[in-house]
Amino acid sequence: MNEVILSLMTFLPLLGVFILLFIPSNNHGLLRGFTLLVTVLTFLVSIPLVTGFVTNADYQFLLNIPWIKAGPFKMNYNVGIDGISLWLVMLTTFIMPIAILSTWKAVDQRVKGYMACLLLLEVGMLGAFVSLDLFLFYIFWEVMLIPMYFIIGIWGGKNRIYAAVKFFIYTMVGSLLMLVAIIALYFKGMSAGVTDFSILNFFGLNLDPVTQTWMFLAFALAFAIKVPMFPLHTWLPDAHTEAPTAGSVILAAVLLKMGTYGYVRFAMPLFPNALERFTPLIATLAVVGIIYASLVAMVQEDVKKLVAYSSVAHLGFVMIGLFSLNQMGVQGGMLQMLNHGVSTGALFLIVGFIYERRHTRLITDFGGLSKQMPIFATIFMIVTFSSIGLPGTNGFVGEFLVLLGGFESKLRWYTVVASSGVILSAVYMLWMFQRVMFGKLDNPKNQNLKDLDAREIAIMLPLIFMIFFMGLYPKPFIDKMAPAIDKVIQQSRIRPAVAATIPVQPSMQMAPQSVKPAGNPAVPEGHPAVPAGKPAGHP
């Protein structure tokens, strides 16, 4: 039973899409209800993952079936999760029903297509998180693109086409280079005896530093676009502003995590030497991103754009945490990924609520809403606090661990600068909150605004619960991911035996004649090789 849970969960939404095709397209209620049912079922199916998860560093719920086999390459349908992907999977299945509920009234054109796109998107996201085969991962990674492109391009705002194309092309260019790197990595692996695309094979490889540099750059570019990191972030504000509410929620809560997840799962542990070399660059970009995005967020007039820029800043913290490469930092980064999913998802929902009522998102159009909408004001306040990381809410735990971890690591001075971002985030969030909610209710159009209805409160309650739960008792989250994080950190540290100094081993018969080894071939992990010299930068 354990083996099939992941596949069942991943493909349940796909099954839903097929059934959706047979529901009459003018019966909007049934379409929405059915989609909600599918996502709730998916969430229920995913619950045994948490309850049945054994806290250790191994991959669990494994399923490995041969899939494509031709000539020299073999791809397997290889899925499984560890403590790192577990929570991201849970975040995805948790956010999806909320996203579906949020579009109950907002989308009334081509509802069938919209629901099908949302479900396909869920297949892609879950598939990417559970894949343990590089090729399979790449396929799911690309599969996510198409539904998101349609969600922005068909159901988006005024400038939707520009935003959709920008989103698609940015992501596509990055991932194509990653594909080259995946293929090249496979050939490097082949000369060390790797026979399929399973990532477990590649963690043990000791690639020479030059190869690592190029491959790290290709992977890192693809992930940096997705995160997004400064200066590749420009697609994000456009995509967020134009996307419908559910699109923004999913984009912020899950799609951006694909980038950071990619770093933890692939770019960091696969290429430790290159990681060491590029950490200063990436940390610089992350810090610049935090400060720059915070400053830009401050002057935004559109609430949604402001939240979008705050995402860029928050993800910068995640990157600092991950790249500090110690238990606290990576834990903080991982927690911050989940927190950002919950609180920024909630912020986009809130923006959606007022947009549905007033069809504007300009801060100047509002003011004094708290008198008219007290429930809304309370919820908005809690979410705002969570986003700026007030103690007691989830944001605090993540940010604190990131700063602590970063300060303890080589990134100490970067962290010091980055911590000013914490203050800046309080400035722009609270200032926005004040201008929207407090002051005089002088705009006549705002005087008849209705407070949140039962459906809207029901959407927000689980998020509010998670905000406090993760803020007050983060232990279960941290405990489950700690062993996996230890393993990643260990894999991402430079190994003492660097392949560049090891002579070619006669046992490598796997190397095909036609492959010209660029640099020296790699050796399997644990090979008793004696380094002739220590690599530069090794402590």
């Binding site: 086999k69 000539g71 492109y149 068909i154 092309i169 596509m172 260019v173 194509l176």
Partner: protein, 469 residues
Amino acid sequence: MTTTDIFIALPLLILAVGALLTLLLGAITRDDTVGTMIGVATTVGAALWLLQTPSALLAPTLGLSAATLPRLFGFFFTLLAAGTLCLSHGHNRERGISGEEYPATVLFATFGMLSLASATNLLTLFLGLEAMSFGFYILVAIDLKRTTSGETGLKYLLPGALSAAFLAFGIALLYCVSGTLSIHDAMQLTLPGGVPDLVALAGWGCILGGIAFKLSLAPAHLWTPDVYQGAPAPVTAFLSAGSKGATVLLLLLLLPQGADPELLRVPLWGLALLSMIVGNLAALLQTRVRRLLAYSSIAQMGYVVVALISGKGGGYRAAAFYAIAYGVISLAAFGAISVLERSGCGDTLDDYRGAGSSRPLASGVLALALFALAGIPPTAGFTGKFLIFFAAIRSGEIALAVIGILLAGVSVFYYLRIVIALYSHREGQLPSATTHALEAVVLVVAAGIILLLGVWPTPLLALLTHAFP
């Protein structure tokens, strides 16, 4: 003639007899349905026959082979012709193209493709290619009521005739060097590796020149946009899928037989690079859907040539896979275009606006085909591109692979422009049009194959691994 000979030649005979029968029946009845029915029955019959493995793989007296590759491509070409005939039926009725000559010409062209596929000597190969081309010269100009038909036909005929002359002269030069028409021996002698014979070099130059025309590789691509634009949509589908597939197959029959095709690397490298650059960049500027797809086909053939250069890294397999995948995608794309262009709807991107809601099936299939052309998983186009770049990197053609992949990223932009047009809002409704049942079947089957080759390519890959060990 032994029974094995007849066994191997039977698909060709079926097609020839079917074509003649169609022509003869034209004298008796004017109902086009009969012609289409005979055509589909003939092609499907030939395809089914090709599924059987004959007792011997060669018919030496006839110069025909029935090895895995010829039979696989024969199967593909015959089913392609069946699909084209099904698509044409409704289209021709609406456009007023009537007469038995249409199905008969399709069958003759298929006959040419099939004889090319099963050829074991250079003469049969050339004759097959030309028989196919003659069929296409007629088909592209068959819509006599359109004023552009004559222009289209001429634009295809003149470069085509020139390329035939080049090919014939090139084959003559190869014969001059090797003294044999047998493909295997001629290739061994003219692609020996090491210092090339000057006459053989000239011969290969002529052959590549001819093939560049047929595959519409830059700089011999200028006919492509006009012909894609002017021909009836089902014919464009057949031309794009069949004629290009057959030409790729021709190279696949020749190159792997050579002792060392290194000699051809530099010219093919140049052709691939130019085609990818010219095709992708020119497609960016197009506003008419068919011209856009024509330029994209130039780029796609550039990718195939990348695979042919990387033969020793598994590139031949990749080229064969891509030729078939591209054929199915073309059939789906132009089949959908044939439905969309119905009842006076124009052919510019603006005319396609809003088609997504008024003609969901055709638009959906076209969108899928475009995603496949852009190389996005899980489609046949992705698997094909993956195999090509895999082979290229493995053979050390890393520069070409990286350029190709970056240009593939560029190509996403123009493919998406069509998808955007399909699903964007339109003031007022498109004129309504019916999708014929036969068309719907072809579109759904083609879309199914595109997805199947993306998700489960193993059976086809296993066959190709058998053909190119």
